[in-house]
């Protein structure tokens, strides 16, 4: 390959459309005769629904139709499960998924009960107030630690209790090994719920063409192909009759890969039922209750160590909050289990969880997807151990890192991709060293901190390591085609939500085919153009789809060389591809433009040799044998205001290793954004419920997304340990920024407040919560 675009900081192909306001988002889809939908949602966390009276709502001018569960007939059934649980010995899994509309019982505030279709959204919302619904209130199950108590009401009446799942996994024999420990530390850790709050809310537009018998759906989904397949089946259609388009998406972060949302089941059904195109756009209040949440876990953890700080083993038992249903299987708690051990060589590990149902919004992946909680537990245990053993915090980490010659490293327990967890590659110590150096760790501890403390300032440092399992299977695919105008079209089945796929994928193709990056046009998320794929999640887009595109582009390159060799009467190895032409290596003046070659590859008359495929086009797939494990280190210096307990981040350093990097500019952006979400999660964002299960923080005034003054300048360092599991040697990076921020923040704040003796074992924090912790530590409350 002549030019190397791979690895360059290239500006994005998609930006001009976005910057000029020309990019199509779901809410921008306008169709003739479009009707608008508003959902009637439960105002109660747990209630029987005795009667729904739609009469007066139907009388309102402009209301077209109203549907409740009863109107759906056979279409009413619990949604299919997204991710079935992996085969783990002796596990319990009580599959309970959300129905399209609640029937007989509402299980969380915001659960859809009826759908109102009207000439405008304004009218549809007016009609919500005309609805008469008779509820009988039940007491809600809100506290995950008591969800399994005998006296708790049942959320799903056909189950004996509120247990969603129970899993125990083991590596080695913790109980026996811990007997030889010099130190055992036991603590409880809380990691509370949060929400992704993409700036674009969800939305769906559906249009049924009665003449064509085809359904078109524009959906803010990260996984258009699975949505198409699932809806076709549920609606009794062939896959060829359903087209799902995920156009530009205003941020995904996980919740937009949840499926099937109730609205996703209903809106297309309404379009078919009425024979009219319909649109539903979620508003911000709906987003807070209707879009999946994440995080909610309570851990009881213990770590056994030798006197010199070597980890003997870890035992962790936790309760995981599922919300009212469990559509996403066990992905989140399994990620917690499988990320907890992190970069460390731990031979004995027992991990057990109970996933419990609560009367709250359902829980599905949000950037990090269960990994944060594990990293928080492990990193905090190490901090506490370091203190007890009198070992430096960085040093205790260093002593336990998996050595570079131990890869592939086996953690034995079952991961979210159904296979035993194996880290493919890694070299952890250089990342740690680089982070320590970038943040001037020694100098800060030895000189700067004592000096600032002497000045009466409360400053502290935190450092944490993590791994991120990325790029899991099963597979993605792509079709690459050189078009008659010499430009290259690439189509793939994943969705895109701002990750720069239109550029990073174009770089891969540009290298293979010797064209400019701007001449490669990528289409994602249109199921009519590419049929196969699983979607964008688990930091897998670049790894899995990127490699599929690379394979397809290689095939096209072969076709180009073969045909050009025939046309120019030379051998393939005499040819070179650059600047959109294929030419003789020794004489660039003899060439064929790729566009002309593409036209010649599709003859209109004459005969071709048997087996000849038309065009310069190829489709290929890539499925890694297992995920690629990225790693990194975050470090921060913070200052706490002793009067207000506001925390100011003075420095933030990220050192990251995600193997070979396609576009470092885009990678930096991913890290900045992830870290900002981590900071929000650690200190600003909190979902507050009252004792009846009403979410109180349902506006952006109450749920604080960090703004430009809350996020510091983030300094980034890179290490490169390529993955051996894919030809491009890449690992995913989408979630890394968000994963270790909680423990870094907690550790740094704890260090800053060391004279108060606070031990931080929870996320999120806030100024008022820090004040409370200080009061508690001082025995004042």
């Amino acid at each position: 390959m002549a030019t190397r675009y791979f690895g360059q900081r290239i500006q994005r192909n998609e930006d001009p459309r976005l910057l000029t306001g020309q990019a199509l988002f779901v809410d921008d889809v306008m169709l003739p005769r479009l009707a608008h939908i508003a959902f009637v949602r439960s105002p109660h966390a747990h209630a029987l629904i005795h009667r729904i009276d739609t009469k007066s709502a139907l009388k309102r001018e402009g209301v077209i139709a109203i549907f409740t569960a009863e109107d759906l007939g056979d279409y009413w059934q619990p949604a299919p499960i997204v991710v079935p649980p992996p085969p783990i010995q002796d596990m319990t899994f009580n599959k309970r998924t959300q129905p399209p509309l609640a029937k007989g019982k509402a299980r969380f505030v915001g659960e859809p009960i009826a759908v109102i279709v009207a000439e405008s959204r304004y009218i549809a919302e007016d009609a919500i107030r005309d609805m008469q619904i008779e509820y009988e209130l039940l007491s809600p199950v809100l506290d995950i630690e008591h969800a399994l108590d005998a006296n708790q009401p049942l959320i799903h009446d056909d189950l004996p209790d509120n247990l969603g799942a129970h899993v125990v996994q083991r590596k080695g024999d913790y109980d026996r090994a811990a007997q030889s420990a010099d130190l055992i530390i036991k603590r409880r850790f809380d990691y509370d719920r949060g929400t992704a709050a993409a700036i674009e809310n969800r939305g769906i537009v559906a249009s049924w063409d009665t003449r064509d018998q085809r359904l078109t759906i524009w959906d803010t989904t990260q996984a258009p192909v699975p949505i198409r397949n699932g809806l076709a089946k549920l609606l009794g259609l062939g896959e060829n009759q359903v087209r799902v388009i995920a156009p530009f998406i205003g941020g995904g972060f996980g919740p937009k890969v949840m499926m099937f949302y109730q609205e996703e089941l209903i809106v297309p059904w309404v379009a078919m039922h009425l024979g009219r195109p319909v649109k539903w756009i979620e508003d911000r209040a709906e987003n807070f209750v209707g879009t999946s949440h994440e995080r909610g876990q309570v851990h009881e953890s213990e770590i056994a160590l030798t006197a010199d700080g070597k980890i003997i083993g870890v035992k962790d038992t936790f309760i995981h909050d599922c919300g009212a249903y469990i559509p996403y299987g066990l992905t989140l708690p399994l990620n917690t289990q499988c990320t907890l051990l992190g970069c460390y060589d731990v031979q004995h590990y027992t991990t057990e969880f109970e996933a419990v149902f609560t009367n709250k919004t359902l829980v599905a992946p949000y950037r990090g997807a269960g990994r944060q909680h594990g990293v928080f537990v492990m990193e905090r245990l190490l901090d506490i151990a370091a203190k007890e053993l009198g070992i430096d915090r960085a040093e205790i980490r260093r002593r336990n890192l998996i050595p570079p010659d131990a890869f592939p490293y086996h953690n034995e327990i079952i991961y979210q991709d159904f296979a035993p967890l194996v880290y493919d590659s890694g070299n952890y110590e250089p990342s740690l060293d680089k982070a320590l150096e970038m943040i001037d760790y020694q100098d800060f501890i030895e000189n700067i901190q004592p000096q600032l403390k002497a000045e009466g300032r409360y400053v502290g440092i935190g450092i944490a390591t993590y791994v991120e399992g990325t790029g899991i299977g099963p597979y993605e695919g792509a079709r690459v085609q050189v078009m008659g105008n010499g430009k290259v079209s690439v189509v793939t089945g994943i969705g895109t939500q701002g990750q720069g796929h239109f550029t990073s994928f174009a770089q891969i193709v540009a290298d293979q085919l010797g064209v400019e990056v701007c001449d490669v046009s990528i289409t994602t998320g249109d199921t009519n153009l590419f049929y196969w794929g699983a979607g964008t999640f688990a930091s897998r887009g670049a790894v899995v789809a990127g490699n599929a595109i690379n394979e397809a582009a290689k095939d096209v390159r072969q076709k180009i060389l073969k045909l050009a060799a025939e046309k120019l009467h030379v051998t393939e190895d005499e040819l070179e591809l650059t600047q959109g032409v294929v030419h003789l290596k020794h004489n660039p003046n003899i060439f064929i433009a790729l566009g002309d070659l593409a036209t010649q590859a599709n003859p209109l008359r004459g005969a071709v040799k048997p087996g000849t495929e038309p065009g310069l086009e190829a489709t290929n797939y890539f499925g890694p044998e297992r995920g690629a494990t990225a790693n990194g280190v975050h470090a921060a210096i913070v200052e706490v205001d002793p009067d207000t307990f506001d925390v100011h981040i003075l420095r933030y350093v990220v050192v990251h290793d995600c193997g070979n990097v396609i576009n470092p500019l885009i990678l930096d952006g991913q890290i900045h954004g992830g870290t900002a979400q981590g900071i929000g999660n650690a200190f600003y964002e909190k979902l507050v419920y009252d004792d009846q299960g009403h979410l109180l923080s349902i506006s952006l005034l109450d749920y604080l997304l960090p703004n430009a003054m809350n996020i510091p300048h983030i300094e980034i360092g890179h290490e490169v340990t390529p993955s051996p599991l894919n030809p491009l040697g890449i690992k995913g990076a989408g979630e890394a920024g968000a994963i270790p921020v909680g423990p870094v923040f907690a550790q740094a704040v704890e260090d800053a407040l060391s004279e108060f003796g606070v031990e931080i074992r929870e996320i999120p924090l806030s100024p008022s919560r820090l004040w409370e912790l200080v009061q508690q530590a001082q025995g004042k409350v």
């Binding site: 930006d15 921008d28 700036i199 809310n201 995904g252 701002g498 720069g500 900045h672 979400q677 952006l700």
Partner: protein, 157 residues
């Protein structure tokens, strides 16, 4: 229904609207200017920011009828030619200041008057100016860099 006359991106529109129609919905639905985005409809996210007689305001916090007789500028006014971006748009592209791009129109419209009044802003000024616009993707760092770059580009004759 009430008749209003509004100048949007230099074009005069006279339309009948419901008194309760939000200005953001008017621009997007009645005029088809979908570059103005809606992220919260309660005045916090800033995605719907437009210029109202030259000042950056939130279109979701106004009714269309309040725009009667006023001049509105939306992101579509910056350029219609993707090959010749406005200097602020160019700066955003060069520095990778957008990811999903949903917040971007509002941020651009906030920055137009900001950079007019502050042609050479400090990082602190820029961060302060951006506090009314939420971006969930970028962590703001590249946006800050974009504003610095835009200031440079605009100072060049």
């Amino acid at each position: 229904m009430i008749q209003i006359t509004v100048i949007v991106n230099g074009i005069t529109h006279t339309l009948q609207v419901e008194p309760r129609l939000l200005l953001s919905d008017f621009l997007r639905q009645d005029l088809g200017l979908t570059g103005t985005h809606v992220g919260c409809e309660h005045g916090v996210c800033g995605s719907c920011t437009i210029l109202f007689d030259g000042d950056a305001v939130r279109a979701c916090l106004m009714f269309a009828v309040q725009a009667n007789g006023h001049e509105i500028t939306t992101v579509e006014s910056l350029t219609t030619d993707m090959e010749r971006l406005h200097p602020i748009q160019r700066a955003f592209r060069e520095t990778h200041a957008l990811q999903c791009g949903f917040c971007t129109s509002g941020i651009l419209m906030t920055l137009i008057p900001f950079l007019e009044k502050n042609p050479d802003p400090t990082e602190a000024d820029i961060r302060q100016a951006l506090t009314g616009n939420l971006c969930r993707c970028t962590g703001y760092q590249h946006i800050v860099a974009a504003v610095q770059r835009a200031a440079q580009l605009q100072q060049k004759p």
